[in-house]
Each structure stands twice: as structure tokens, then as C-alpha cells.
């Protein structure tokens, strides 16, 4: 079961904080993060990579993006 973080409409650093919390909670697997600005997309991707996660996919989703990160 994938976990989803909905950070749409939140400005930085909230999307990154929420992603970090989720990373701590699930430890590994796959997380989808919904964001609505390019800045948040970049920040979330950078933060995930700095924690050893891989940015698997970035898809347009509504007015924003769905960033999928994973770790085995």
C-alpha cells in the first residue's frame, strides 16, 4: 500500500517537512507526494535524494505534480 503526502497549497518548508516525517515513518518502500509548485517539486526531490531515496517518477497531476520516491 503506497503512502501519499498531500502538500498541495503549502509553501516551503512544509512539503519537505511532511515528506521527511513520512520518510521517517515508513523507512522504506514508496511514497507519493502531491505538490502544486515547481519549487516544492524540486525541494521535495532534493530532500528525498539527500536521505538516500530515489526520485522514481514526476508526473503532472491537476495543477501541480505527483512526485514518487522510493527506497528498497
Amino acid at each position: 500500500m503506497d503512502s501519499v503526502v498531500d502538500a498541495r497549497g503549502l509553501s516551503c518548508p512544509q512539503p519537505v517537512l511532511m515528506t521527511m516525517d513520512e520518510i521517517k515513518r515508513v523507512d522504506k518502500g514508496e511514497i507519493s507526494i502531491l505538490v502544486d509548485t515547481d519549487t516544492s517539486k524540486e525541494n521535495v526531490s532534493r530532500a528525498a535524494e539527500s536521505r538516500g531515496w530515489i526520485v522514481k517518477d514526476v508526473q503532472p497531476d491537476g495543477i501541480g505534480y505527483r512526485v514518487t520516491i522510493s527506497k528498497d
Binding site: 497549497g9 503549502l10 509553501s11 516551503c12 518548508p13 502544486d36 515547481d38 519549487t39 517539486k41 525541494n43
Partner: protein
């Protein structure tokens, strides 16, 4: 893939933008802007408040084209790269109040974070106290962030709503073209000008506007933010934005050395005072307000340019705050803090703590 799409969001992009700002800011000083104030978002918004008569401090009245350029440059970049996203509704009144107190704090120190860095690069030792205060204020902000402080979500809105602040800036520019500075005149039409003091020192309009547009464009691409630089370092141990800030200081320093603008010391620095506690205290207030609002004053201008209506409200809060600062004797001068500056810093800190403690989602 994401890095290919936006070169400026990677390490060398942010370093390049920081260096670009550092060099141009130092050169703007050479071309006429006040000492160690090639660019100062707080000071320049304060000058704009003076130009439209929100305060009548005669020495700080000028419609600064750099600020206009920041917003419009960001707007252009946001449109070219399809990042213009009109949005608003995340506690605008709170952002207005934070903007006003951020300005009050910055004017007790005499500078925004950008100017604190430029003052350091010009040899002004008082900037060390200001930067220490800024970092301390941001650190308090990160404690609130860790404990669930959150101003809530924005909503998508009308494109025209996102245009309101850029249009206001465009209107300011038109006013400046209709009522330009006339040598020796303190007023032309409805705009006020300074005959002496920092407000009388400026580079040529087209140069200031051009530099503003270029920086606005690049800063929108790179997300350059001085508050975010310290916040991310403290909160996530992430140095991405911080490298841009370092580049700004280093390149402004080198440029100052080359053009003979580096004068190390504490006393008699341009547009600065030596009351260490209040250089520190003013920036604690500013740093905390920036952290609670999610961006330094420059970043708020760039966000407003890409359609963020809440950032636009923060900007208006800062401009109105400048009016309060000078009308109420809160702003410092080279002689020291204003008669009510210390009281204003304390009240501002209490207001920020009130906001930080009560606006939490768990």
C-alpha cells in the same frame, strides 16, 4: 530529468545567481546607490513608501526601480517557464502583520538580509551582529516549524489576482516616468524625492531597472532565498540555498576590493549604527518574521511575481510597516536607534511569538 529542466535549481545554478547578485549589487553602489546598499529590499521598499508619501522622512524617498524589476523579472521568468500559478488564501492578515514587523525589525538594524550580507562584504563589522540576530530569529522560527506551525493552504485563484502586485509595480514605474526626478526638486507631481541622504543616491533609472529585471528573472529560476538558506541548514542540514548566499558575499567582497569599496571597521560605516544589542535584536525580529512567513523580503517579491497573492500581502505589509517605522520614530539612523525603536522590537517579538504559538496544526 528535473535538473535538466531547470539548470538554475542545481548547485551551480544557485551559486551562479548568488555571485551575479553580489557583483551587480556592489557595482550598483559604484553607479550611485548608497554605501553597502547596492541592493536592500527593506531599505528600497522603505524608499518607495517615502516616494508615495506613506512616511515623510525626507532623506529616504525614492521610487526604487530595482524593486519594480524584481517583481516584473520574476513574472517574466514564471511565464516563460510556465510556472505562473495564481494562488492565495494562506492567512493573508497574518502575512501582512509579519511583513510590517519584519520591516520594523530590519529598519532598527538598517537593512534586510541581503544588505546585511553586502554590509559584511563591504567591511561593516556591525553586520556580524545583524547576521547573528537574523540566524537566531530564524532558529526560533524553525522551532515553531518543528512543532507544527503552519499558516494553512493556498487556493488556486484568478490569473488577474496574481497580476495585482506586478500591475501595482508597473503602475509605480509609469508614475516614475510621468513624474521623474528633477534635479533640486523634492517633489514632482505626486512623487516625493530626496535631495540628500540615501534616498538621493541612486544609479540611473534604466540601469537600476535592468539589474532588477535580471535578478528577478534569475532569482525566480533559482529560488534564491537568504532566510531559506539558514532555515534549511538548521532544519534539514541542507546547504543548497546557503551556497548561493555564500557566493553573494564572496563575489560582493571581491568586487568591493576591485573597485575600492572595502572599508573594514565598526564606526562610521555608511547608513549604519554601532548599537550592537539592537543591531542584533532588530534582526532577531526580522529573521523570526521572515521564517514564520516562509521567505526573506527578496523571495517574497519573487513569489509575488509568480502569482503568490500571500507573498504580495507580505510585501504590502512591509511597505506599510516602513510608514509606521518612520512616522513613529521606530527606524534607526546613523546616530542610533529611534526613540521608540526598542519598544517596537519587543512588541514585534511578542506578536511573532503569539503567532508562532497559536497557529499550529497537529
Amino acid at each position: 530529468m528535473a535538473t535538466l529542466k531547470n539548470f538554475f535549481a542545481n548547485r551551480w545554478g544557485i551559486v551562479g545567481v548568488g555571485a551575479f547578485i553580489g557583483v551587480l549589487a556592489a557595482l550598483l553602489q559604484k553607479l550611485g546607490n548608497p554605501g553597502n546598499m547596492g541592493i536592500c529590499v527593506a531599505c528600497f521598499e522603505r524608499d518607495i513608501a517615502g516616494a508615495i508619501g506613506l512616511h515623510r522622512a525626507g532623506v529616504v524617498q525614492y521610487m526604487r526601480p530595482e524593486i519594480i524589476g524584481f517583481v516584473l523579472g520574476s513574472l517574466i521568468a514564471a511565464y516563460i517557464f510556465k510556472e505562473f500559478r495564481p494562488r492565495l488564501g494562506s492567512a493573508p492578515i497574518v502575512r501582512f502583520v509579519l511583513g510590517a514587523f519584519a520591516m520594523i525589525g530590519a529598519l532598527v538594524f538598517l537593512g534586510c538580509p541581503w544588505r546585511a550580507l553586502l554590509r559584511l562584504a563591504g567591511g561593516d563589522g556591525n553586520a556580524i551582529l545583524g547576521l547573528a540576530g537574523l540566524i537566531f530569529g530564524i532558529w526560533i522560527g524553525t522551532l515553531f516549524l518543528k512543532n507544527g506551525y503552519n499558516l494553512g493552504r493556498t487556493e488556486k485563484t484568478y490569473t488577474s489576482a496574481g497580476w495585482l502586485l506586478p500591475l501595482t509595480m508597473l503602475g509605480f514605474l509609469v508614475l516614475m516616468l510621468i513624474f521623474p526626478y528633477v534635479k533640486g526638486e523634492a517633489k514632482n507631481g505626486i512623487l516625493f524625492y530626496s535631495l540628500k541622504g540615501p534616498g538621493s543616491m541612486h544609479a540611473a533609472l534604466l540601469i537600476s531597472l535592468g539589474v532588477g529585471l535580471a535578478i528577478g528573472f534569475l532569482a525566480q529560476r533559482s529560488r534564491f532565498c537568504t532566510m531559506g538558506a539558514f532555515r534549511d541548514l538548521i532544519l534539514f542540514k541542507q546547504a543548497h540555498l546557503f551556497t548561493g548566499l555564500l557566493a553573494l558575499v564572496v563575489f560582493a567582497f571581491i568586487t568591493n576590493l576591485v573597485v575600492g569599496q572595502f572599508h573594514p571597521g565598526f564606526a562610521k560605516q555608511p547608513v549604519a549604527h554601532t548599537m550592537h544589542i539592537w543591531n542584533f535584536g532588530g534582526m532577531v525580529l526580522a529573521g523570526l518574521a521572515f521564517a514564520l512567513a516562509g521567505g526573506c523580503p527578496g523571495r517574497q517579491l519573487f513569489l509575488a511575481g509568480e502569482g503568490d497573492g500571500d507573498a504580495a500581502v507580505f510585501v504590502l505589509g512591509m511597505i506599510v510597516g516602513a510608514g509606521f517605522s518612520h512616522n513613529f520614530g521606530l527606524a534607526s539612523s546613523p546616530k542610533g536607534v529611534g526613540p521608540y525603536g526598542i519598544a517596537a522590537v519587543i512588541i514585534g517579538l511578542l506578536v511573532c511569538l503569539f503567532i508562532g504559538f497559536t497557529m499550529r496544526k497537529k
